[in-house]
């Protein structure tokens, strides 16, 4: 891993160098300097382990109402100059863009501390030790069986991303994130458990605890039984909620909604064109969902790719659709201030006070879901999706987990699901930039059984 020197100054120097070659009416330069360290494991051993560093420069040139971009990771003077020239040549060749917005001038940004030296400095040896610890803890959870342990550890460092424009804007942000996930399978092939953790700080990841949790789930999930598909009360663990609720982000697009092709479009006879459900109740009144780069649990980027500051954006507040996501162009077209564009980074859904165990204890009959897989769009009108449960699906009866269940395919809308909430559990960080609660939801639609373990 390279040592961090003064990334801000280094990146700013590159932006200045690139801008100095520009002959376009306007130019924007985005520099990203990254490194990553990764260890993958399966069968209780590391299968691949490696690292990579890169630095890319993207030049966006505007000539009149024409715009194009070119990028490179070769940053000597000649290559940078050539990339600037290429972007200008492509811009001149492109047709005029009636929706083109001018580049931004200087902006004010929130200071977001998202960089952790422990994550940035995580070396191959430390990764191997953490993986060994996880594997040992998992296997110790049931030493009588030869548990199969697989997983992945990834530490990413954004040494910096810098945005600069020919109109004087300069933005810089640095961050780290680390994630560790594991899947434990029983040797008879009938049990599988999963656990994952992620944070900006390496110290917040407990490798052994993750291994133990996945192993306990694997052992408990052996010999699953089939129950009839249909509508069930479900308890979604925070990751299972995190698989579903963020899918709504796509639906919050203001333009699509106003163009009549989103679940938040109002349609039908007599409805004025462009009408949306903004300000209307779309979910259970206990639902509040927002993006906010400055939230201490999220700590996202304080600016977007064009340098526009990100702001706290509440999507759903107490069940009401509070905001839609505007591009700068669409905001201007609607006569809205530029600040309505620039959506916050990360996603947080507010939780309740009950623990997952308490949600289970308060359930007469339901299905507990660990996480989901292969989620695909079904119908944009209802924001419905299909997907499958995975790595720990259990029947809850009279407040207790009574047996392991075969996995289900579900066909469900995360939006409609948020109208069928029975209880909201405690929220927790499920990865860097994402906080989700556990949820108890009624009438969750399981459409068929999957034999997959």
């Amino acid at each position: 891993m390279p040592i961090r020197l003064d990334a801000r100054a280094d990146l700013q120097a590159i932006t200045k160098r690139a801008l100095s070659y520009s002959t376009a009416d306007e130019a924007r330069v985005v520099v990203r300097s990254t490194s990553t360290g990764q260890s993958r494991f399966a069968g209780g051993e590391i299968t691949t382990s490696g690292s990579a560093t890169d630095l890319t420069v993207t030049v966006v040139s505007t000539v009149g109402k024409r715009r194009a971009s070119a990028s490179t990771n070769v940053t000597d003077d000649a290559s940078l100059k050539r990339t600037v020239e290429l972007s200008e040549r492509l811009a001149k060749l492109s047709p005029e863009d009636p929706e083109l917005m001018p580049e931004l001038g200087p902006q004010q940004y929130a200071a977001v501390k998202a960089f952790d030296a422990g994550t940035a400095g995580l070396a191959a040896e430390q990764r191997a030790d953490a993986v060994s610890k996880l594997i040992a803890a998992a296997r110790a959870a049931d030493a009588a069986q030869d548990l199969f342990v697989a997983g992945y550890l990834e530490a990413n460092t954004l040494h910096g991303t810098a945005v600069a424009t020919s109109k004087g804007l300069f933005a810089f942000h640095e961050s780290t994130d680390v994630s560790l996930s594991c899947t434990v399978r029983t040797p008879d092939g009938t049990g599988s458990g999963w656990a994952a953790g992620g944070a900006r700080e390496w110290a917040q990841v407990d490798a052994a605890a993750l291994g133990r949790r996945a192993a306990q789930k694997a052992v408990a999930s052996r010999n699953p039984q089939a129950i009839e598909p249909g509508r069930y009360t479900v308890i979604l663990e925070p990751q299972a909620v995190g698989d579903l609720v963020p899918l709504l982000m796509q639906a919050f697009n203001a333009r699509t909604a106003e163009e009549g092709r989103s679940p938040f479009s109002k349609r039908g006879e007599g409805v004025p064109q462009g009408a949306t459900m903004l300000g209307e109740k779309i979910a259970d009144p206990r639902v509040t969902l927002f993006s906010d780069s400055e939230d201490p649990d999220l700590r996202g980027s304080p600016f977007e790719g064009d340098g526009l500051p990100t702001r706290r954006r509440v999507w759903i507040e107490n069940g009401v659709l509070k905001n839609l996501a505007y591009s700068r162009y669409w905001a201007q077209k609607r006569g809205l201030p530029e600040s309505v564009a620039g959506n916050g980074d990360g996603l947080k859904m507010l939780g309740g006070t009950q623990s997952l165990e308490e949600l289970i204890a308060g359930t007469e009959r339901g299905v507990l879901i660990t996480h989901n897989f292969y989620i695909r769009f079904l119908d944009p009108r209802s924001a419905s999706y299909t997907g499958l449960t995975r790595d720990g699906t259990f029947l809850v009866e009279r407040g207790k987990i009574t047996r392991s269940l075969k996995n289900f395919r579900w066909n469900e809308s995360p939006l409609l699901m948020l109208n069928r909430i029975e209880a909201i559990g405690r929220a927790e960080r499920i990865g860097a930039g994402q906080v989700m609660p556990s949820l108890k939801v009624r009438d969750f639609n399981f459409s068929s059984i999957s034999e997959a373990v």
Partner: protein
């Protein structure tokens, strides 16, 4: 397999490469011009430095891939361009095997010092990985090779002027917008030129240039309280710009857009069991998901358990030559040789020559997809000691691992047409193009949609329906295959974005197939979900 003799031989080969034609300067003059055929001597020389550094630091085997990737993408909506971008990425990835454990490092620092540091980092990672190792890696033998190969194209898609590309796409959108109720049209084209030089301590040095191109087109119609989109199945290919010209998007867009408009008035499908006729424009993806992925050996052995999943085609000793995957009509071949296919190469990312082999023969499972590391795992069962050449990394900064070759369903030797299949169907649903698709992590239970659907009654197409998806379990589905189209119905589909691995890597792969019929399949209504 790497034994001591192989190791000594490979050391000799590395030294030979390292000593050949060394250049004085550290970095080549960067260029964006079209590549020439032949071994890239500069890249080979730099790679030799990396290999030498790796072997000096304890690697018994190492390989170095120098890649230069040029990607261009143009996207449009209605009468405007929404994006024009061009990107270039250049760097080296070094993989080192130390006492049976892998390490990898990638860098864009293409100096002698830079590539040596990457090699050191790779050996360091390999040594660290030994702390968590149970079974040392063994590599299948491969004959060293020196050579060059280039995708045969007439027109380099990257070099075609941007005006020509934009004009073609906007003309397609314009044609679509002429159709009543069609309010939106998007189109795009992405082109990739990948220049890659691989050198290994076995003595292989190969330079290859790949061209891949992916067009796209979608029309959306709005009417009443409904909106419907139709995406044409414009297969990505390993081809030049001439392929895009052949598609004639401006002429055909109106016909495609009319399908979006027609969907507005289509009946919502009745849930139930039907005989399912799949146009090859839909079936290729079903083959990819339900046959391609479960026959990846790393999945079968649990290497993907934490992400993409495992496979029902396991364990190998219980399924090779034994598993009745499908009906007798089902013969699946894998290859990296089909002209215009996306997975076509001369050598894979381990220097293994392009191969062709049978995965399923008349319904019976025969063999998996393999890399050098995997071949020995099943050699006693298949009698195949060599790798099938399925190693691929999406860029210089990624670790190569087992990726899907072209996996295709052989056409009927008799000339059965789509009309023959329709005529023979009493109560059916016909589906074309890829739609929503989802399959479980062992590849049993799947649910696939399409873009356009028709109901068949009494051997005739009676009208369009919508909100359709078919849900089945892989082996029962393939065992229900009872009619197979001939060569005249054959289509080569494919994807630019086949995801697998951690970190996720994207593979480009093609699948050829004829039209086919599957008996008594469950059809669900996706409009009533949730």
């Amino acid at each position: 397999m790497t034994d001591r003799r192989d190791f000594l031989k490979s050391m000799g080969a590395a030294a030979l490469v390292a000593g050949a034609g060394r250049l004085a300067h550290a970095a080549p003059p960067p260029r964006l011009v079209a590549p020439t055929a032949g071994i890239d001597t500069f890249a080979a020389d730099l790679a030799a430095d990396a290999l030498q550094a790796a072997t000096e630091n304890g690697a018994q085997y190492a390989d170095a891939r120098i890649g230069r990737y040029r990607r261009q993408a143009i996207s449009t909506r209605e009468r405007q361009v929404t994006g024009v971008s061009d990107s270039e990425s250049y760097g080296i990835g070094v993989r080192a095997l130390v006492n049976g454990a892998w390490g990898f490092a990638g860098t864009r620092d293409m100096t002698r010092d830079g590539v040596r540091k990457a090699a050191l980092e790779a050996t360091r990672a390999a040594k660290a990985a030994r702390r968590a190792q149970r079974r040392p890696v063994e590599l299948a033998p491969v004959a060293p090779v020196k050579g060059a190969w280039k995708t045969p194209v007439r027109i380099d898609p990257v070099e075609v002027p941007i005006e020509e590309k934009v004009a073609l796409l906007l003309a397609a959108n314009e044609a679509a917008l002429k159709v009543k109720n069609v309010r939106f049209a998007t189109s795009g084209v992405a082109a990739l030129r990948e220049e890659k030089t691989l050198a290994t301590t076995d003595g292989t040095v190969v330079t290859q240039t790949f061209y891949r191109i992916a067009p796209s087109f979608t029309a959306t119609a709005i009417g009443g309280s409904d909106f419907q989109a139709y995406t044409e199945e414009l297969a990505p290919r390993g081809s030049g710009w001439e392929y895009i010209q052949q598609l004639d998007m401006p002429t055909n867009a109106e016909k495609w857009a009319a399908l979006a408009a027609e969907k507005l008035t289509a009946r919502s499908v009745e849930v139930g069991r039907y005989d399912l006729i799949l146009d090859p424009r839909n079936l290729w993806l079903t083959i990819h998901e339900s046959v391609g992925h479960p026959t990846e050996l790393d999945r079968a052995m649990g290497y993907e358990a934490n992400y993409a999943g495992t496979s029902f085609v396991a364990p190998p000793e219980k399924v090779i030559g034994k598993l009745k995957f499908g009906s007798d009509l089902m013969t699946i071949r894998a290859d990296r040789t089909t002209p215009e296919s996306l997975a076509r190469v001369a050598w894979d990312d381990e220097g293994v020559p392009a191969d062709e082999w049978t995965i399923i023969d008349k319904g019976v499972f025969k063999d998996y997809q393999t890399t050098r590391e995997q071949a020995a795992w099943i050699a006693p069962l298949t009698g195949v000691r060599k790798s099938h050449g399925c190693s691929f990394a999406q860029s210089w900064s990624d670790v190569p691992f087992q990726r899907m070759p072209n996996v295709s369903l052989a056409a009927n030797e008799r000339d059965v047409t789509l009309n023959d299949i329709i005529s023979a169907t009493d109560r059916g649903i016909m589906i074309t193009n890829r739609g929503s698709y989802s399959i479980d992590h062992q590849r049993y239970n799947f649910q696939f949609g399409g873009q356009a659907y028709w109901e068949i009654r009494g051997g005739k197409v009676t009208g369009m329906v919508k909100d359709v998806a078919y849900q089945a379990t892989t082996t029962s589905f393939w065992n229900s295959l009872d009619m197979l189209g001939g060569k005249s119905t054959y289509f080569l589909g494919g994807t630019f974005n086949d995801g697998k691995g951690e970190p996720g890597q994207s593979n480009q792969v093609s699948h050829g197939c004829p039209a086919a019929r599957f008996k008594n399949i469950s059809i669900i209504n996706t409009g009533r979900a949730g």
